[in-house]
Point group: C2
DNA sequence: CTACACCTTCCATCCGGCTGGAATGTCAAG
DNA sequence: CTTGACATTCCAGCCGGATGGAAGGTGTAG
């Protein structure tokens, strides 16, 4: 498939896909005779894996190492294994923190809800927040396959 | 207390504390006659809250809005409440995703561990990863109060 | 033919979140 | 008094992770 289709199917922009290739996160795909990139099904999996791993807080560089390990079935390096184990520990901590902060936020939310919502004095700020929220959701939540596709 | 002590007690650098003040995340503290910032105990709480909230994926701008809500007991804006509720939903999704990816990574880790660790061929990369790991831990995990304090 | 969607590369820019460093001030200890 | 640790402001730069846009090639449909 071409880059556009891959983008549509993963929710990752063509721009970003090329960028991932540049930084070594995606292997250079075959090219059609005209020079267009030609991806196989595996690229879809790989991109989804990247998105998920990214959502857990791994950097793109770290993800690249993991993918190397995954694809070669080879230990590129002892440190990759350590990285993974460390990250697992981090994840457990993070999950716990999330739960705790979730509760904290829940309290605040309740309070917010009990107060008069008509006193919005700063529409600019509000707008900013609304946008930020959208962005955050878009960038962090793993898209199954459907997406608002401009 | 002065900025240095606050930094030591929270694990947030003095530099970063001033930066937070600049962007409105921390209220400008009192000043000693000599101009030095003079913080109260609440600053410690506030910084810890910021770190936790940040660990859940909120941006600093979003955190600023929440803190405003928290401190004024006022609904700055309807959208802040929406932000919080949305974020709670996000958190639940995120926690689930983390668990799932955690398992995925655990599998990879096991695989990594079963393979020969002696074949490390790319020390530069390894170094990078090691550093990245340190950074990641430092920046994301909420410090209780102890920390490796350069 | 030409319009149009789609692809290519390349280079610049943006954003969030810091961080470094210069130039200067304050103050307690030796 | 000077030295040293700490503080101040201000401005520049960095990193990760993209994103924008120019300038151009391709290929099918009308």
């Amino acid at each position: 498939m071409r880059i556009g289709e891959l983008a549509a199917r993963t929710g990752v922009s063509a721009k970003t896909i090329r960028y991932y290739e540049d930084i070594g996160l995606l292997p250079p795909p075959e090219r059609e005779p005209n020079g267009y990139r030609d991806y196989g099904e595996d690229a879809v999996d790989r991109l989804r894996f990247i998105r998920d791993a990214q959502a857990t807080g791994l950097t793109l560089t770290e993800i690249a190492s993991i993918l190397e390990l995954r694809e070669e079935g080879q230990p590129t390096c002892e440190h990759v294994a350590e990285l993974l184990e460390q990250h697992l520990k981090d994840l457990d901590v993070q999950i716990a923190t999330l739960q705790a902060t979730r509760d904290h936020l829940a309290t605040l939310t309740e309070r917010a809800r009990r107060l008069d919502p008509a006193t919005c004095t700063d529409p600019v700020r509000c707008q900013t927040i609304a946008e930020a929220t959208d962005l955050r959701v878009a960038r962090r939540v793993a898209q199954p396959q459907a997406h608002r596709h401009s």
